[in-house]
Symmetry: C2
């Protein structure tokens, strides 16, 4: 039986692969697929998900090795930011 | 509608609070409740979840401010390790 924590961890890996596989790179997301992930998975969080500048800004922050692609560790940087924000929101 | 990514993020926050509330500290886990979380939520990952040394070892690694309690950021350090391991496992 998969526990809640294991289920959430597996779900985050699955979400990443849903978009990385779609960009043909099992290990990384293309900029386009990263935009798709943001628009689809966290529309609420993005002030204006359809605004290219919003995506560019987040891409710049997340793409730490500056290769124009998002690998899993870089995706985790985004996920960790979302987790901190979600946790803070529960204490407001 | 909550997306998969949002659902997984909320689930991780809920798991943390399930054990932090049980230790009466909304923001932190006591050592005992951290042990309970490990035993219940990631029994597979722990070589021997019932071995106090296993828990002590992980607690030492995760408790970065050395206060004997686990706050949410320290919990995220554990969650990130689990995420990296889970992702690596999909590429084996």
């Amino acid at each position: 039986m998969v526990t809640k924590l294991e289920g959430a961890v597996n779900c985050l890996v699955t979400v990443f692969h849903k978009y990385s596989l779609a960009s043909g790179h099992y290990h990384t997301l293309s900029k386009d697929k990263f935009r798709k992930l943001l628009e689809t998975e966290i529309p609420e969080v993005l002030k204006n998900p359809k605004d290219p500048k919003t995506v560019e800004k987040i891409l710049k922050e997340v793409d730490s090795n500056k290769d124009g692609m998002i690998n899993f560790e870089e995706f985790l940087f985004l996920a960790t930011r979302l987790l901190v924000d979600a946790h803070d929101a529960t204490h407001e």
